[in-house]
């Protein structure tokens, strides 16, 4: 709790024109260097919260405050990487061109080629640089989106269920690759997942949200030391944490279904 | 003789002359004057800008893009006065409007008034001019009118119809293509007293460069005499170059009809020369247009023309004496 806040949602409410209240009084502070996972029932407002942090949507009530509140505290473009819940690829551009996009938009096209290659290699898509999105499987598309988010080497990463469409082996590998990046480069990550195991394995903190309208139901620190590995994953501590988090999720959902 | 050719003087006045249709025999005199060097001899470097089916070159005269314009009939000169357009008629090359109504033979049409029973193909311009006169004078009605689109096909397809045309042109095309000999009624012979193929110019040219206007009028008149009575081949060659659709046959036909129908050289022109105009004709035509409701009686029609440049028997000795 000692590291400074990167961004904070303060009593944020989000209501859509059709009347749906997605968030109601959400308080959430993201601290520098933490790996924060959001867990919550389908439709509780996780993606909405991420969009608010990304500045793609404005709160109906409350505020999104960057750093110490100074205007300069907002991240420069390219310092923020986002993986949307849907792959969101440009259908007219090859895989490589899709991954290259953030570099071009932030005028770093000169360093693009090696970075694009590295990012594609990291997600296991070396051979598909010239393929078009429609020629990819669902999981492959998502991996392209992940490579695109990583390619600018952003300080803050917002990831909305990035690995949901991946097999467990690939998922574990990417989990580990992400943890490696986070640790080595000191990134801050906000991670939405539905997998309690994944959340526990990756996070320094897990926030469990209530069903719509979303609020914080539980805020659980995962104090296990890094680097984490298979040993942690098979430890009793891990199992206990998973039970705690799973319990918190079940409590949050109560008897309601969705 | 104001327009005596200034021997060898190199500086020619550039003059733009617009017609209201593509090059054809009905413009023969002008092309003749251009082709055989008459304009040049009168110190003029003339460019002829032909009109076309949808083009309205007339507006280009008052704005100065043209110096002279060949307008179809006298009515247009009245309009200019009514609309305060500073143009004025300086010569009338056709004593008779060549406008005709053409009917099928063997459809029971004997007199002009019988046309009232037919469908009539009339152009928009016709509706705005002679047809109003036909209504006032002969009791034709709007209900019988069908649109004329510069094309004889609808007429040929409908035996119970008549169409407008020029005496010099449409009867020939119809005869040639359909092998019928149509009935042809020249409106001028039915009392339609408009001049035709008038030369209009801007008022400021009349006031400030009367010599130039005179030279253009005189050279055009000489062109017409030559075209009618001399060797028209230079004019015809130029017409064909500007309009490759034109055939020798049609050119010959049109020339013949202009002569036999007295389109150019008849009436006042016989005594005063081609281009002749008189106050009496103008007054009579104005009265008939007022009666037809086409022109407001308040229009000062005398401002629409000037007799300053015509009735001087220019070139009249070019007419064969017999």
């Amino acid at each position: 709790m000692s590291s400074p806040a990167v961004v904070a949602l303060r009593a944020v409410t989000k209501a859509f024109p059709n009347g749906t209240r997605a968030l109601d009084g959400l308080d959430l502070t993201v601290r520098r260097g933490e790996f924060l996972s959001l867990l919550g029932p389908s439709g509780c407002g996780k993606s909405t919260a991420l969009r608010l942090i990304a500045g793609l949507s404005r709160p109906s009530g409350g505020a999104v405050v960057w750093g110490d509140g100074a205007p300069k505290a907002a991240p420069a473009r390219g310092d923020l990487g986002v993986v949307f819940q849907e792959p969101t690829l440009m259908p007219w551009a090859s895989v490589a061109a899709n991954v290259r996009l953030p570099l071009q938009l932030t005028r770093r096209a000169d360093v693009a080629e090696p970075r694009v290659r590295a990012a594609l290699a990291r997600v296991g898509l070396d051979g598909f640089a010239e393929a078009y999105p429609r020629e990819l499987s669902g999981g492959m598309k998502m991996r392209v989106a992940i490579a695109r988010a990583l390619v600018t080497d952003p300080a803050l990463l917002l990831m909305d269920e990035p690995f949901a469409a991946l097999d467990e082996i690939t998922r574990f590998r990417l989990d580990n690759a992400l943890l490696g990046l986070w640790q080595e480069l000191g990134k801050t990550v906000v991670f939405v997942t539905h997998s309690v195991f994944e959340a526990v394995y990756l996070s320094t903190r897990i926030v469990v949200m209530t069903p719509r309208p979303g609020r914080v139901a539980a805020d659980i620190a995962i104090d296990a030391p890094f680097p984490r590995s298979e040993t942690f994953r098979t430890s009793a501590e891990f199992a206990a944490l998973c039970r705690t988090v799973g319990g918190a999720l079940a409590d949050a959902m109560g008897e309601t279904f969705a | 003789q104001p327009a005596a050719p200034p021997g060898g003087a190199p500086a020619l006045d550039k003059v733009a002359f617009g017609t209201n249709w593509v090059a054809q025999a009905e413009h023969g005199g002008f092309y003749q004057a251009l082709a055989d060097g008459t304009y040049r001899r009168y110190g003029l470097d003339v460019t002829i800008m032909p009109g076309g089916p949808q083009a309205n070159n007339r507006i280009l005269l008052p704005v100065g893009k043209l110096d002279f314009y060949m307008s179809a009939n006298t009515l247009q000169a009245f309009d200019a006065v009514e609309q305060n357009v500073p143009t004025v008629v300086v010569a009338a090359m056709f004593q008779k409007d060549p406008q005709v109504l053409i009917a099928h033979p063997g459809a029971g049409i004997e007199r002009f008034a019988d046309l009232k029973r037919l469908n009539l193909f009339v152009s928009k311009e016709g509706m705005a001019s002679y047809f109003q006169w036909l209504k006032a004078e002969y009791g034709f009605s709007d209900a019988q009118v069908k649109p004329y689109t510069s094309n004889a096909q609808p007429f040929l397809a409908d035996k119970r119809s008549a169409m407008q045309g020029y005496v010099t042109s449409e009867p020939f095309a119809i005869e040639k293509q359909s092998r019928i000999r149509p009935l042809v009624f020249l409106l001028a012979d039915q009392g339609f007293s408009s001049y035709s193929t008038l030369i209009e110019t801007r008022r400021d040219l009349v006031e400030n460069k009367p010599g130039l206007v005179q030279r253009f009028v005189d050279a055009s008149i000489i062109g017409w005499y030559t075209y009618l009575y001399g060797d028209p081949s230079a004019g015809n060659a130029l017409i064909k170059r500007q309009n490759p659709e034109m055939s020798d046959e049609l050119l010959a036909y049109a020339l013949e009809r202009m002569k036999t129908a007295g389109i150019v050289d008849s009436g006042d022109a016989l005594a005063m020369g081609i281009g002749a105009m008189t106050d009496a004709r103008m007054t009579a035509f104005f009265a008939s247009m007022v009666k037809a409701g086409v022109v407001k009686p308040t229009v000062d029609f005398r401002r629409s023309y000037t007799l300053q440049f015509v009735n001087k028997r220019v070139g009249i000795d070019l007419r064969p004496k017999n």
Binding site: R58 | I59, V63, E82, K124
Partner: protein, 275 residues
Amino acid sequence: MPPVGAPAEADEARPWRARLVRFGLPLLALALGCVAWELVVWVYAVPAYQLPSPLAVATTLVEDRALLFGSLLVTLETTAYGFALAVLGGAGLAILFSQSRLLETMLYPYAVILQVTPVVAVAPLLLIWLPQPVAVLACAWIVAFFPMLANTTLGLHSVDHNLSDLFALYGASRLQRLVRLQLPAALPMMLAGARIAGGLSLVGAVVAEIAAGSAGAGSGLAYRIAESSYRLNVPRMFAALILLSVAGMAVFGLLSLASWLILRRWHESALSRGP
């Protein structure tokens, strides 16, 4: 504070001010245009036969209102029929073509021929073979149908392939696929086609009147324009042209509104904009 220029959000309610701007601005722009025009005429002392002043045109519009509005009605009637035929005919042909590759391959060239054939050339032929009011409508139709055909064709072929698979899966009949999948997917493009066709129908009505139109008592604006031009009555010609423009803007405005009402619940183009 958003880190980057926040995009226009579809989920933000539009304040009434935006609407005022949306409707007021074009009028303001047109008013400005008129002022500029009046100034030009004044400053350069342009004579009326060259460019009449807006005031002169307005005066003519009022003075000749009976004549001009009568003509406007005639033209609008032709426009309405021509538009209906263009939309139905263009969309109908596109639908027909989408049902049979054979028909499309064989008939599309004829549609292109119709599009590129100048109306003034075919009008006499149509007048021979068809009764005159029908010929006028045929001319108007020829001018306006093609954008509808082209846009509907593209729209019908731009169906999301996953949805297309879904329909194949449930053995959807051609009609079901057309009605429930292709037409809704094509709707935004069809409406764009209709917006193009709306203006073209007006042009078509005018061209048709000129080429094959009624002369005589019940004449439309085209006749007024041609006659005024021939008679050098330039203010009246402008008055007629302005009526035509206003009619065109009204048609376009109505079609845009209809488009927005139809698409606002789901299509990006309508979501990101207002009525």
